[in-house]
């Protein structure tokens, strides 16, 4: 190998390290958490600029031919650390865009536009970072002690870049394969449902923005130390698409895929072809490269959207090492869940104060022994001029399976949404366990034990049934960024307890054989069951069910009804929207009847049938 070839090879290795770090950051954001960050490149740019101004001497030192802020002349490794920190910190202003419930494509556009504008600002405002000319003569790390042009130095740089890439892989893998990673994937598959199960979308999106931002910043720092120059031309918005192409082609949701994508697209496609002979007019080859990047993205999304290395299925259910045999022998799913918690004394319930005290009779619940679990005062919701729900005041008593019936458009689902916090209230109050929760967000209500299911099937499609169930468990020690970073040993016991409870529920509802099936591959009835089981995994005090038996075989519907009655007998409270009167007859008492946004009557089904206006509302409405 000639020297030139060696340097070329080392150059490729260093680029590989840089691109792998960046792609892993994007893979965590886009592939795992479903955050379409079209502004990703500005995080890398921020890291590169930070490393540059930390390591450069003051602006006047080189005769003042470039002007920039900073210039602190700090020794390695401070610039790299600073790059990662700044990459993480500039993620924070963006959380207002992605943290709230904004349509994913709107947020993506906001981030794209931000990337375009920040590039414009940096280009036009020269005193900040030397404008369009950019920064040059950035000192290479330790260049006073070693010769950056020496082969040994280049080798060391390549090894350092690849080691950092390995570290980045370890980091994102640790987060993704934890309970927290599962929550991120749940948010990716359906954010509204994740919210209703107690996941804070804001906190989760902030944490992946910060994590991905830190990795992007670090990649920028490593890159600028090697190429010693950085200018706005290096980080146009289109560079983000190159990284997206890499993640999509490699396999979104699989970090190994991101590594493969980084090697194939930015390294293999852009850098490796840099020294090929040019043809055509100036810029022609560059233009064709961009066209090819666009084509790669579109073609892969069409023919192989899962990428070369698809996300792997997490098999949990098939193994049979249930940690505590007693758990299985307990009769009801709830007893079993308590048994499982007893098996881990410092389990979730014992630790978090947010944790609902689920059942009447347990010591914490005794303090709230109000027979009325939930009531509303003049609850109203307007859509435009339509009063979908108008001044509804209801009470739901502890331990009842209360039915909610009414013709289509009566406002049942809207009412349920307001109770759960997924639909904002126009006026009126929701009082839960004696507290006004009218303005408490959905995820906080879920953590207080007020949990809903949805009318349309809402399983997390790319989570297995087992993972769907586990995703709902509150208070898992591994279900936070910090907890996930502390590793499996830290959260293993919580996880095992949750798995044990999930197995009992699966057994109970007859879905044990489907534990490792993807939610998206289930039949309609199985999806409803999964959703009910998932809600039960949150250990709710009160369950809000929106047509849980719709599309379910009548025999299965009766089984579900019987299970629900069992749960109520153990102290749970359930409010259930249902159209099937036979179900109401058999299981629900009392029944609330709604029509045109108002409560028409409340009582047993027998009472209701006796009242003519009720019959009329159903028949006419």
């Amino acid at each position: 190998m000639t020297t030139a070839q060696l340097y070329y090879l080392l150059n490729l290795l260093i680029y590989a390290g840089v691109d792998i770090i960046a792609c892993l950051g994007l893979s965590q954001q886009f592939g795992v958490a479903g955050l379409t960050n079209f502004g990703f490149i500005i995080f890398q740019a921020a890291g590169a600029y930070t490393a540059a101004i930390l390591s450069l001497p003051a602006a006047s030192a080189n005769g003042g031919f470039q002007s920039y802020i900073g210039g602190w002349n700090l020794p390695f490794p401070v610039p790299w650390i600073g790059a990662a920190i700044v990459g993480a910190l500039i993620a924070l202003p963006f959380t207002f865009l992605v943290g709230r419930r904004l349509r994913g494509d709107f947020a993506a556009v906001g981030l794209l536009v931000t990337a375009v504008m920040i590039n414009l600002l940096v280009t036009n405002y020269r005193p900040f970072l030397n404008g369009s000319a950019g920064l040059s003569l950035v000192p290479a790390p330790l260049q006073g002690k070693y010769n950056p042009q020496g082969a040994g130095y280049q080798w060391a740089y390549a090894v350092a870049a690849l080691l950092l890439a390995a570290g980045a892989f370890w980091l994102v893998q640790r987060v993704t394969e934890s309970p927290y990673g599962r929550s991120l994937r749940a948010m990716r598959d359906n954010d509204i449902v994740a919210d209703s199960l107690g996941k804070s979308l804001f906190a989760q999106r902030t944490s992946v923005l910060v994590l991905g931002g830190a990795l992007a910043g670090l990649s920028g720092g490593v890159l600028v130390g090697y190429i010693t120059t950085w200018s706005p031309g290096a980080w146009g918005y289109a560079e983000t698409i190159v990284l997206f192409a890499a993640v999509i082609i490699g396999g979104a949701g699989n970090h190994r895929g991101a590594i493969l994508g980084a090697i194939l697209v930015p390294v293999g496609f852009e850098e490796a072809t840099r020294y090929l002979p040019a043809f055509g007019p100036p810029g022609f080859v560059d233009d064709l490269q961009w066209v090819a990047i666009g084509l790669l993205v579109v073609i892969f999304l069409w023919f192989r959207p899962q990428g070369i290395l698809p996300e792997r299925r997490r098999i949990i259910g098939a193994t049979n090492n249930i940690p505590n045999e007693d758990v299985v022998s307990l009769p009801g799913p709830l007893r079993a869940s308590r048994g499982a918690m007893a098996a881990s004394p410092d389990g979730p319930a014992a630790r978090t104060s947010m944790q609902p005290a689920p059942f009447a009779g347990s010591p914490a619940a005794a303090a709230r022994n109000d027979p009325v679990v939930l009531r509303t005062v003049d609850l109203t919701r307007d859509f435009g001029g339509v009063h979908a729900v108008a001044a509804v005041s209801i009470e739901v008593r502890r331990g009842t399976l209360t039915g909610l019936i009414g013709p289509n458009g009566a406002g049942k689902s809207t009412l349920l949404g307001m109770l759960a916090g997924t639909i904002p209230v126009t006026s009126g109050q929701v009082i839960y366990q004696g507290n006004d929760v009218t303005h408490v967000p959905a995820y906080r209500r879920a953590r207080l034990g007020l949990v809903r299911t949805f009318q349309l099937a809402s399983e997390f499609k790319r989570l297995t049934v087992m993972e769907n169930l586990l995703s709902a468990v509150p208070g898992n020690r591994g279900d936070s960024l910090a907890g996930s970073l502390r590793g499996r040993r830290y959260w293993r016991r919580d996880e095992d307890a949750a798995i044990a409870r999930a197995r009992v529920l699966l057994e109970r509802f007859g879905l044990s054989g489907y534990a490792d099936t993807y939610g998206g591959d289930l039949s309609g009835g199985q999806r409803r069951l999964t959703e009910i089981m998932r809600a039960l995994m949150t250990e709710p005090t009160m369950l809000l069910l929106d047509e849980p038996m719709a599309g379910v075989h009548p025999r299965l519907a009766r089984q579900i009804g019987a299970q629900l009655l069992d749960l109520c007998a153990e102290g749970m409270t359930i409010l259930m929207v249902e159209h099937e009167l036979a179900i109401m007859d058999e299981f629900c008492d009392p029944v609330i009847m709604m029509a045109e946004g108002a409560v028409l009557a409340t009582g047993t089904m027998t009472d209701l049938r006796a009242r003519t206006e009720v019959v009329e509302a159903y028949l006419v409405g």
Partner: protein, 293 residues
């Protein structure tokens, strides 16, 4: 005062260009549910069609018609060949939106840099006369600038007439409000979507050409920044609302040009950017829009 009047005049011209572009973009989004980021690329590609004719000796205003036709054909092809197949294959609305926004960004690269590979990286200008300087109500503008404003007024009136008084317009509004319900009411929504791409594509082509005329010189990637301004106008008025886009275009057009006069021209688009981010953060449904879920 004269500085204010001068910038007001420029603001009106920018607002006119912007209004044509933003109305097309927002109608496209309303009816088809595609946030078509390749809109700017189609604009500039259409402007180059007019440029090719202009180079061959054709008057640029006739070239404008050809650009409208090119924009319509290009947009219909883009939809039939790319967007609709993706929407059909994915099904699930939320996932399909994300995929489509990525695909549209990929198409932006393909169109813009494909174009640049053909026409080269240097900027070009139409061969045309700016006409005499016209003074009206204190404003001093060239005849061409007045024509652009007049053209925008005509286009806005035509869009208003289309949406309000024609069967096609009603069908477009119905499809926008609820596609499956519209289909069940006997509206051939597939055809409405295709016609919408043709109409909005024509607006896109017109907008591209007047943008190029107004800019003086243009290149294959010139519309990148202008797309930000279009998006700002669209989101200010409310995505999917044609009247909102008109209002948004007027506000953004005036705001960018007047601020350019008093602050500095290099940052005039930053106003648009700030407006866009504030709207996304505070009221994504816009000034005139209803809640977009």
């Amino acid at each position: 005062m004269s500085l204010f009047l001068a910038s007001l005049g420029f603001g009106l011209v920018t607002a006119a260009v912007l209004a044509i572009a933003a109305v097309g973009f927002t109608m496209q989004f309303a009816v088809t549910d595609v946030l078509n980021l390749a809109y700017g690329a189609v604009m500039i590609a259409s402007a180059f069609v007019a440029y090719a004719l202009n180079q061959a000796g054709v008057n640029v205003w006739i070239g404008l018609l050809a650009a409208a036709a090119a924009g319509a054909v290009g947009s219909v092809l883009l939809n039939q060949g790319i967007y609709t197949p993706f929407q059909r294959r994915i099904g699930d609305a939320a996932r399909s939106r994300i995929t489509l926004v990525i695909v549209s960004l990929g198409m932006t690269l393909i169109i813009e840099f494909g174009l640049q590979a053909i026409v080269g990286g240097t900027s070009v200008s139409y061969t045309m006369s700016q006409g005499p300087t016209v003074r009206a109500g204190g404003l001093v503008l060239t005849a061409v600038q007045f024509v652009i404003i007049g053209l925008a007024v005509v286009v806005m009136a035509a869009v208003h007439g289309l949406l309000r008084y024609t069967k096609l317009g009603k069908a477009m509004r119905a499809t926008s409000a609820n596609r499956s319900l519209a289909r069940n009411c006997g509206i051939r929504t597939g055809r409405i979507v295709t016609v919408t791409w043709a109409v909005t594509g024509a607006l896109c082509g017109i907008a591209g050409t007047v943008f190029a005329i107004n800019n003086g010189s243009f290149g294959a990637t010139s519309a990148d920044l202008f797309l930000v301004v279009i998006l700002a106008a669209v989101f200010l008025g409310g995505p999917g609302s044609a009247y909102g886009a008109m209002l948004g275009a007027l506000i953004i057009g005036l705001a960018t040009e007047i601020s350019a006069a008093y602050i500095t021209p290099s940052y005039k688009d930053v106003i648009a950017f700030a407006v866009l981010l504030i709207m996304l953060a505070v009221r994504p449904s816009g000034l005139l829009g209803t809640a977009v879920s």
